[in-house]
Structures are given as structure tokens and as C-alpha cells.
Symmetry: C2
Subunit: 389 residues, 2 copies
């Protein structure tokens, strides 16, 4: 209910240009006619805007493949990937991936490396990210104009301070400022699950839905919320920490200071315990175990019964509190046996008041696989450059 | 990340007028100079807008009381309550209140009556609301131009369908459509806790904060979320149901089909159990008991220990999931012994990762007392009329 900024006529034109560019960037190539309909602008305004963008080399117009209908084909407007390139960084506990992403969302090139105790320090990571970016940008002959960084921790969006990334053992790292000072471009740092939600919303399983929640279980458990088409963000720039919902009173102690957090009950260590594996079992072994278990629905139901119950309880809470149209599950939650996931989804719908009211919340798997956070990181970077392209 | 509607020059003027009116409506009387600063418009634009509103009788300009400073006093622009009057209805389980509220938020007149089993049916309530509104409007000589209705249940905002109001025993009541058909004005129906959040945000304890959560415990437990200045609303128009967060695995059966919901652990019945009273103890008796208990901090801590723990756990989850700057507690939560509430707030801050990151979430009592939902209902009605005044 806050007042939207008051638009002045001279701002309208730029606003329209940015809106059109965002539409092409997210939605892909489109005809002038479709753009006019989508934006509610008349064709002459669209023509002026597209001509301006084409002259600046930001879009190109092409005749679509023939045979798509009778009459003269409408020209397709295509975003030009090299017109704006951003750096995306996906910082995980055991792995860092970087990519240069062009306008339209195409990954132009990428690089990645593993982390271990010695290379997991903020200094090491920052140095390596900067060096790799320079090499990659040199190889591709492009210069990123902004960067987005995904971090598994509590992040202050305003300045990119990583307040606490417990699984990395980082505390109060000025990641955004430090990268920005060297790379000399705006650097947006965000929580990984928030970026997962953004990516699935714009390019993945939650596309077309304005209200979705992304939940991912890895070493940590996190969630991101899209509400009425935008990222939900708490006060002081901190997003919510779904993984630290207290789900099991008196449960295991969590590093966060609370007990029985959702993360302690459905994170990677909990899954290992459920499978009868040591908590530090390598990911590859967990995957093999899950694949085998998936062949026997009865065994899966019984061995994962308790794990599934905590997963269900947390999802009921997510649905009842946030009322999403759909929940997208990521990381480890996409490799659980299908029979177990079907049963969990069914239970969540049956036990959630809001799901019943809304006619059944959909619960689906991530559509973007391992790139989800990289793509989300790219999008927050594009968000700050689209109006300057 | 959805595209905002594209503004055309001819829409800008009306938008500015509505924004100015909203500022006066929520913020109260203001000078032209202050309005210009707040809206970022120049003084001649403000003059045109204020002159237009004054001519239409929507605002009046007055010389403020003398002695407030040197020099010629700046004229105060005052919203005129009778320029737009809305109907507000607060439907509770045992009580209905209606009010006619003028531009600026002043209650011009009100009426209320108790509900019991026979008068709690949708037909009875709708008939009584319509009759009382006619009488009240006649007495005051005003005509409401829109209505807002607060309902303790799951409501679809788009058409005012009350999907489920279990404590009223209502299911699928087309409340909005039915009231609107007879009163012949737009009728907005909303969940009571959402309206509590709106009212506290605009006129109460959460004023000035863009991210707050309102939690109230009465017969039911509900919550409303303000995120970046707006009501958080789930998909399909359903808001979240904080009261049905599963907080106690294997706990008491809740009417919603789940077990151990927050509502079953901190609602009025749970408070009665904690106090050793029958679950249907009248509210007056509960209040007397709490007042007495408040005189002995040790006794309060011990008798309410378990109740306080469930309250704490739920609040930790609310803070960790939603990351608000402050949490406003309403209804029964405002009359718990002060020592208990201080301890709960302390625990929530200590046990919530997000609160620690954000430097401590404030937890405060409602500032609007019994009128909170009535005022919230008025505001959703004003939301649809301010651009037509």
C-alpha cells in the first residue's frame, strides 16, 4: 500500500524501453505485433522502440522460418546476446561455478572448480573468482557489465554483505563490495535459494505462475519465495530462512542456535541417516543408493518414512504460510524415489488448509537442474543493467 | 520481476492525484510544501492538484493554529471525511461490528451486536449487516461508496468468497457477491489477520516499517504479512494461514485435518488449558485470571511455560521464514503477563537466525486495540475508491 513512484512523461519512454527489453530477455524472440499486445502499446510506439534498440545493436529483426502460415510473415525481434553480458557466480559449499551470460539468458561460457577446506576461505574464493572471470571474459572477447553471486547463507542484499554462511564458515564477508571494487561493475549478492526461486520463476518450472516457492535441500536447506511476481524479501534486506523453521521441538541442535530445524531433519546429513549411511557420505554414493531404493517402492516408503514425514510437515507449513500456487523442489529433493515424492505431495495437499482452499497446490521438481542458481544469479545482475543497455 | 503497467502521459495526472489523496488519507493533514517534498513533484503541480481537490470538496485548506513558528504559516491541506465514506465490517465468531469510516480514517459512526449459534448463519449475518448499514447510514446522512469486510477464515480476495470459516461454521459463502448485490457498491472481503496487518501498517504499531507481520490469537490464530509495503497474498488469492503451521508433530488434532497446528497450541482454548480453566471459559474470566497472574512473575513463568514455548517456536518460524522488521501481536497476545511476553521476545530474538542477522526483530503489541480489523477493512475499501473520489 506504499505509493508507487510518480511517473513523469520523460520517464515513460525509458520505462517502456526497459519493459520491452525485459520481455525479450525473459520471453525470447517475439514479433512487433505480439510485443504491442503484451505491453498494451500501439504499433507506432513499438516501432520507435524496436528501431532504437536495433540501431543500438541490442536487438536484431529477422524473417522467421517460412511455412508458418499464410501471408507475409511478421518480423521476429531477437535480443542480441552480446549486447549485454553479465557474470554469474554460483558459490556452493564444495564447488564454485562461474558463467558469462548474454542478453536473453544464454550461457556464453563457463568455468568451475571444487572447494576444500583450504580453498574455501573468502580470500581464496574471491581471488579465484576474479582470475577465472578475467580468463573467461578474455577467451570469449566480452566484458561483463554487472555480476550476480549466489551464496548459501544469510546475505544483506543492499551491499552484498554475507552475514553468515555457516557451511562455508564465513561470517561478515563484504563479498559484494570486494568483488565490485576489483571488477569495477555492480555486484549483486543473494541467497542461493532466493536465486533458485527467481530462476525457476523466470525460466523454469514456475514460469507463468506469480506465486511460487522454491525449496532446496543440499548440505543446507533453503527456500525462496516469489509473491505476485517478485522476490519476497524481509526487512533489513534479509530473506527468510526456511531451513531454520523449527519443525521438531526438542530435536537435534542446529548450528543456528535453535533445535530441530527443518535443515537438521531434511538436509543431506538427515538423508544420509535415513539411508543408514555415514553423514559425510559423498554425494555420488547417496545418489546410487537413492536410485537403487527407487526400484523398490515398499522399501523406499519404509526406509524414508520418517524423513518423508519431516519433509511433509515443513511443506505443509510453507504452503499454509505462504499460499503459493506451486512449490518447486530442488537439489536432493529431485532425486528422492518418485513413489516417496508422490506420497509426500499427496499428504501436503491433504493436510494443508490453504492447498485445499486453492484447489490443490502443485508440487513439482526443478526444471533447471544444476544451472538453477547460476541462472538466478544472472537474472539479478540483468535486473540492474536492462535500463542502461 | 513482473513488468509494471506501462504509464501513458494521460494516466500520470490521475495517478498523481490518487497518490496525493492516499498520502493525506493515511498520513493526515499536511502542507503543500510537505506534499511536494514527499511526492517529488514541483509546487505548481501540487497547487493544481490541491486546487482541483478543494474545488471538488475532497480537501479543505486551513490556516494552522498560530504560534508554531516565525513567518507566514503554510496552509494545511485537510482531507474531508464526508468526501468519501466506506463501510467497514468486522465479523468475529461471537460478535459483529460495523462502522462508517470517512476519508482520513475517522470512524463517523458504528454499531455492533453479538452472535450466537442461531444468528451465526450466513443468511442471518448478511441480513443484519445490510439492515444495520442502512440504519447507520440514514442516521449519519451519508452513503458508503465501498465496503470492506473482515472474516476469520480462508477468503478468496478476487470475489469475496469465504471458502472456509471453521469457527463460524461457514463453507463456500459468496459473501462479497451477496453484499455487493444488495448494497450496490464494491465489497472487498479479506481475512481478518491480513486486515490487522494492513491496519497496523498504515495506522498502528507497524507504521513506518515496510516489512511487518501481524499475529493474533483469539479463538483462531491468524497472521498477516506486509512485505515491502504491501500485503503478501498467496496464489489463487488465498493468504497464508499462519495458525495452521504444524508446530507440534503428533500434537492435538486440528479441525483443519492436520495435527499440532499453532492454533491448537496458542489459541484461546490452549490458553485456557494453560491457565487450568475449561476451554469454553468466557473471555472476561480469562482476562481477570491473566491480570492476577501478571502480578506474580514467577507464577506466570511457571504456569505459562509450555504455552510460551509454543508461542516462541511459532514466532521463531515466522521471523525465519518472513524476515520482518517487526512483529505486531494482537488480541489475546496483548494481555499475556508482561514478564512472559518479554521473555518470549528475548527467546525469539536469540533463537532466530534471521533476527540475529538483522540486528534483532522488534516484537510489539497492537496499537489499535479492538478496532484493528475494522480499520483494516476500511482501508481495503478505500484502496478501490481513492482513484474515483
Amino acid at each position: 500500500m506504499s505509493s508507487p513512484p510518480v511517473a513523469r512523461p520523460d520517464e515513460v519512454r525509458r520505462h517502456n524501453r526497459t519493459t520491452l527489453l525485459r520481455l525479450l530477455h525473459v520471453g525470447g524472440p517475439s514479433t512487433r505485433a505480439a510485443l504491442a499486445t503484451e505491453l498494451g502499446l500501439n504499433r507506432s510506439t513499438i516501432k520507435t522502440l524496436v528501431d532504437g534498440l536495433a540501431e543500438a545493436g541490442v536487438v536484431e529483426e529477422k524473417v522467421p522460418r517460412p511455412g508458418r502460415g499464410a501471408g507475409r510473415p511478421s518480423l521476429l525481434v531477437l535480443p542480441q546476446p552480446h549486447a549485454a553480458v553479465v557474470l554469474a557466480v554460483d558459490l556452493q559449499v564444495e564447488h564454485v561455478a562461474i558463467a558469462l551470460v548474454g542478453l536473453g539468458g544464454q550461457i556464453l561460457g563457463r568455468n568451475s572448480w571444487n572447494l576444500h577446506a583450504r580453498t574455501r576461505t573468502a580470500d581464496e574464493v574471491i581471488t579465484h573468482v576474479i582470475e577465472s572471470t578475467r580468463v573467461l571474459a578474455g577467451d570469449l572477447g566480452v566484458e561483463p557489465v554487472a555480476a550476480g553471486v549466489s551464496v548459501p547463507g544469510v546475505v544483506r542484499r543492499a551491499d552484498g554483505l554475507v552475514h553468515e554462511a555457516p557451511n562455508l564458515r564465513w561470517t561478515d564477508v563484504a563479498l559484494g563490495d570486494r568483488l565490485s571494487a576489483v571488477l569495477r561493475i555492480p555486484v549483486l549478492v543473494a541467497n542461493d535459494a532466493e536465486l533458485g526461486a527467481v530462476a525457476e520463476h523466470l525460466r523454469g518450472a514456475a514460469r507463468g505462475s506469480s506465486d511460487s516457492v522454491y525449496v532446496s535441500a543440499d548440505v543446507g536447506v533453503g527456500g525462496g519465495v516469489i509473491s505476485q511476481g517478485s522476490s519476497l524479501r524481509g526487512g533489513a534486506g534479509y530473506v527468510g530462512e526456511i531451513g531454520h523453521m523449527a519443525i521438531r521441538p526438542g530435536g537435534r541442535a542446529c548450528y543456528c542456535g535453535s533445535r530441530g530445524c527443518w535443515e537438521t531433519e531434511i538436509g543431506e546429513a538427515a538423508l544420509c541417516r535415513a539411508l543408514g549411511l555415514p553423514e559425510d557420505t559423498p554425494r555420488g554414493v547417496i545418489l546410487v543408493e537413492l536410485r537403487e531404493l527407487g526400484l523398490d517402492a515398499d522399501a523406499a516408503a519404509s526406509r524414508l518414512a520418517e524423513y518423508a514425514e519431516w519433509l511433509t510437515l515443513g511443506l505443509v507449513n510453507v504452503v499454509n504460510l505462504l499460499g503459493p500456487e506451486l512449490v518447486v523442489l530442488g537439489d536432493l529433493l529431485t532425486v528422492l524415489p518418485e513413489s516417496v515424492m508422490r506420497a509426500v505431495a499427496e499428504e501436503v495437499r491433504g493436510r494443508s488448509l490453504v492447498s485445499r482452499a486453492a484447489g490443490g497446490t502443485r508440487i513439482v521438481s526443478s526444471a533447471l537442474g544444476a544451472d538453477v542458481k547460476l541462472l538466478g544469479a544472472a537474472e539479478v545482475a540483468f535486473e540492474v543493467v536492462l535500463d542502461t543497455v
